[in-house]
Amino acid sequence: MKSNFIDKLDEILPLVESPGRYIGNEVNSVMKEITEETIRYAFAFPDIYEVGMSHLGTKILYHLLNEQDDIYCERVFAPWVDMESQMRDNDIPLYTLETKDTIHNFDFIGFTLQYEMSYTNILNMLDLAKIPIYSKDRNEDHPIIMVGGPCAFNSEPLADFVDIVVIGEGEEVLLEILKVYKENRSLMKNDILKKIMTIKGVYIPSFYDVKYLENGKIEEILTKELNVPTHIKKRYVQDMDKSYFPSKVILPYVQPVHDRVILEVFRGCTRGCRFCQAGMIYRPVREKSPEKLQEDAQKLIDSTGYDEISLSSLSTTDYSQLQNLVDHLIDKYEGKRVSVSLPSLRIDTFSIGLAEKIQKVRKTGLTFAPEAGTQRLRDVINKGVCEEDLLEAVSKAFEAGWGHIKLYFMIGLPTETMEDIEGIAVLTEKVLQKYYETKSPERNKNIKIVISTSTFVPKAFTPFQWESQDSMERSDEKIRYLKTRIKSKKITYNWSESSLSMLEGAFARGDRRLSEVLYSAWKKGCKFDGWHKQFNYAEWIDAFNECNLDTKDYCQSKSENEILPWDIINPGVSKEFLIKEKNRAYTQDITKHCRSGCANCGITEFSERWVCNDCSQD
């Protein structure tokens, strides 16, 4: 089944950057025979190969689908701009890395939504595959377009383009959808969608109509077909030890951002930071047992030859058996030159002790996320971290020989004043001061502190989903202030582009009217918007203007009574809980993390008979 454009690839690949991105053939990639029965599923990642191949969810679902007899899952990524122009010039359609077939011929294309600013790439990828972008323009021969991932919790800006939205974790629901498809593939697409609609966790945007008031707020969400669910409950895997995890993963040649074995130690987060969407939508916390993780590690090391294992989760130092697991992994693999790494650290001395154990020889750097500059604001966002903890932790780190510290902050958080911005500078100076006070002979000669600020973007299904987002002017003013405040040459300051954050904010809380804006921006050439050099703010503003919409309307504060575009989705945490948390933020009331007492977020009512692990232990 060789595509007729394959020979042409040899004419263009020598002309593009990193041609290895476009050829597949990696160790552990799956080649399968295709029969009449085979359901062909293209797993589409709307960014470049190196980004997509780092993503754990992609690895899990790729191998899960390929272990089913009658499903063949292949990968497709967004070609970088140089490759895209070669493909367009030579009439080469978007193809998968496995069979090099164009995805036009597939039964399904499933895009993963990790980041709002990759949406234009989805449109561009459909166009490169010569597939009509609007669902209404597609016919029976075109693939069914699916989306899933964190941004699917509010996928309304994509409502006009996609056929199926999957809410929550994909392992179970994806197989259920493909099973229904297999049993009904002779039916018309719309009838297949009606069958799939009954599966829990599935949202079919075309079965709904949204009516807007004059002021742009939603008047009503209407169902267009009979028996269409009025609420979509998210899916999640209950038992992580029984849930599928691949025993081998693809080994990319072109180096991905994360090039190592990734062990997923748990899902969900016990913390409840009020700005964090992942912390809300991935509830409840579900840990894997150390035994299962050890088994996963062994299989993956054997099948890949990687020499690094990373322990991944939303907050790995909260894993209840971390010490145990790390000790085991180090004992077992140290002699084999396999190292262990943690992606980010909570601020406490336990973490430093652990990091010391892990980074015995090379002390590459430590990253902390205080998120806000003052205690008052950290209490507002429920970041359970105090200044003493941070300073004690960095002192320990300096004593142990670390010299490179990264600190992450957000600007524009609810209730923030210039005092809080000043607090970022003051806190950073105190960290530097701790370095000078370090007497240890181990003290690193090269001291470097990097502070990064990103603009706070309110996200759906967080206690801050009703908050306003700082205007670009206001963000820029704060960034400017901080720039002038940082005087020491030992401190470097990085900040994120306020214009990009504003667009991200519009799409994060966007509605269906943004489908048109997205299409218009794509038509103007917008793509890879998250890549600094590709981002074209002026074109985006034109696109909004053409559609008579304004980013400001999406970034302003919302009332608790209004209908939100994502209200149809039920993520497990209740709206009452989110409102309660919002109000506690204003009074700077800390909500303890789940292990110290249940905050009644709603997840136990959401799923029958579910008991949070941490509650049951006490």
Binding site: L13, S18, G305, D307
Partner: protein
């Protein structure tokens, strides 16, 4: 200490993989095969694997070499069997020879590469025209071509001394097949693409695109001018 000299080939599947990425793939293959590769000392130990020559992106081969130092002693056939089992698609493990004592660095041993090249022609080029171009190259004592040095400055490079052999193997169905032997190695080196670019510049009928297929047959050892013994 054991050094294994491994002769391997790189197929089409690997031709767009850069040398750096390929090296990483080799390290991981050795790990998967459970080989106890010796590591260098120091803060950042790296596996003792040395390649005869980095291969430019776009080429295939059936005669490349690398040396691996092992902590333990293993028979050549065991090494070969395990590597064949764990090699990535497109990597052909051809042969393995084991040395029980230190050997001279493999990259210092090689001096020439034997290449097969295929270039597309349009229907208008005659065999005589091709012969004239090839003979013209061989008749010259110097062929100085501009190229960028490491600093990005344009300098002249005389490619003629590095062309050891060059002749037409076959012209068939508008494909010109050339055999060539060129200097390769750390001292003197000529990338076959540079010679091909020169040949295509001589006659519009010899096409620069689609790109020439370049295949390395083997490497020649400087001492005795014979292919590497393995």
């Amino acid at each position: 200490m054991t050094v294994a000299r491994i002769k391997y080939g790189k197929g089409n599947e690997l031709k767009y993989i850069s040398h750096l990425d390929f090296m990483r793939a080799i390290h991981r293959m050795l790990n998967r095969a459970g080989m106890e590769v010796a590591h260098s000392q120091g803060f950042n130990p790296h596996p003792k694997v040395s390649f005869a020559m980095a291969m430019p992106v776009g080429m295939t081969s059936e005669g490349d070499y690398l040396d691996v130092e092992f902590n333990n002693s293993l028979p050549a056939q065991v090494i070969k069997r395990e590597l064949v089992k764990h090699s990535p698609p497109g990597l052909d493990i051809i042969d393995v020879k084991v040395y029980e004592q230190p050997v001279k660095s493999i990259s210092a041993q090689i001096s020439q590469g034997i290449f097969n090249v295929e270039i597309a022609l349009d229907g208008n080029v005659t065999i005589n025209q091709i012969d004239d171009i090839i003979q013209g190259i061989l008749d010259q004592e110097h062929i100085e071509l501009p190229r960028k040095n490491k600093k990005g400055k344009i300098v002249l490079k005389d490619i003629r001394p590095h062309i050891k052999k060059l002749h037409v193997a076959e012209i068939k169905q508008n494909i010109l097949k050339l055999d060539m032997v060129l200097s390769i190695g750390s001292n003197e080196n000529l990338n076959p693409q540079m010679l091909i670019d020169y040949i295509t510049s001589q006659n519009k009928g010899i096409k620069a695109i689609p790109f020439a297929k370049i295949h390395r047959i083997d490497m020649i050892v400087s001492e005795n001018k014979t292919p590497m013994d393995i």
